[in-house]
């Protein structure tokens, strides 16, 4: 049941990326091109996603635990440090260069563009490298702490 939920959430998330246009790197890069072919659509993607998540999280996190799991897995860290800034800054550079962030890149896999087939293994290598570097250090997005 839990895995069916994961699968369905992946499908819905992916359809959201496709319908919103965010799975098209050209659209993402045009959003980032204020001085050129600016396309503000991504503001609407963010607004739609954050609005639904904001309300939904407030309703859900009031409950003692999720329906199918023992606890909520929320990020434990609230530290703003050089690591966070450096990681986010590098991420943004890669995002700007390619128009891809992790979700859209994965959704694009079956569309088999050459750029995607190069990007994805490089992204996995990057994640692996960061994990090697950060072993035993501050927590990453990996949820570890219990809320409440």
């Amino acid at each position: 049941m839990r895995q069916a939920v994961n699968l369905l959430a992946g499908v819905i998330f992916g359809l959201g990326l496709l319908i919103s246009g965010m799975a098209n790197p050209a659209k993402v890069q045009n959003f980032l091109d204020l001085a050129g072919t600016f396309d503000p659509s991504l503001i609407f993607v963010m607004a739609g996603a954050v609005a639904v998540t904001f309300v939904g999280y407030r309703l859900v996190l009031r409950r003692p635990k999720p329906v199918l799991a023992e606890r909520f897995y929320l990020p434990a860290s609230d530290i703003i440090d050089g690591r966070l800034i450096l990681g986010a800054a590098l991420f943004g550079i890669g995002w700007g260069l390619s128009g891809f962030c992790p979700g859209p890149a994965i959704v694009s896999l079956p569309l088999l563009a050459k750029g995607t087939l190069i990007f994805l293994p490089a992204m996995l290598a990057g994640i692996g490298l960061a994990r090697l570097l950060s072993q035993g250090k501050a927590p990453r997005a990996e949820p570890v702490a219990q809320v409440d």
Binding site: G10, G96, C101, R140, A141
Partner: protein
């Protein structure tokens, strides 16, 4: 570069679907819908990270273009750069940056902002800023 059409309605609707998937994941499975974190859970070490759950989410993402095509009757059209060296560097930066900074567009940009996490707000402002700067330099300084 390719000009793209401004699509406020489709984009807001797609965004809402992304939000719905995020709420579904936390409500039922207690997990944050941060895609870079989910992909990271596919890699070892596996202590308590539920790699099977992460694999199911990734499988759903990969299946979505087929369902999109089945529902709309047309394949999804995208423009991906074929500058392969650039794409390799970009992939490394996106993967490394997201894992090192604890999240990506979905983990920090959607879920974190929805939780009003100061960490995620700082991360989102940072990657937006370097994203804008990168595209500016590549298109208007170096030339596209």
């Amino acid at each position: 570069m390719t000009v793209t059409e401004f699509t406020p309605l489709a984009s807001a609707l797609g965004g809402a679907l992304i939000g719905f998937a995020a709420v579904m994941l936390i409500a039922l499975n207690g997990r944050i819908a941060g895609i870079s974190g989910i992909v990271g859970r596919l890699l070892p070490p596996y202590a308590g990270t539920d790699p099977m759950g992460a694999a199911c989410i990734v499988l759903g993402l990969v299946a979505s273009p087929f369902l999109y095509q089945a529902a709309t009757g047309v394949p999804f059209v995208q423009t991906v750069s074929d500058r392969l060296g650039l794409m390799a560097i970009a992939g490394l930066l996106v993967g490394f940056g997201a894992a090192y900074g604890g999240g990506c567009t979905s983990g920090h940009g959607v879920c974190g902002i929805a939780r009003l996490s100061p960490r995620s707000i700082v991360a989102t402002v940072t990657f937006m800023a370097t994203g804008f700067a990168t595209v500016y330099i590549m298109r208007h300084v170096v030339g596209g």
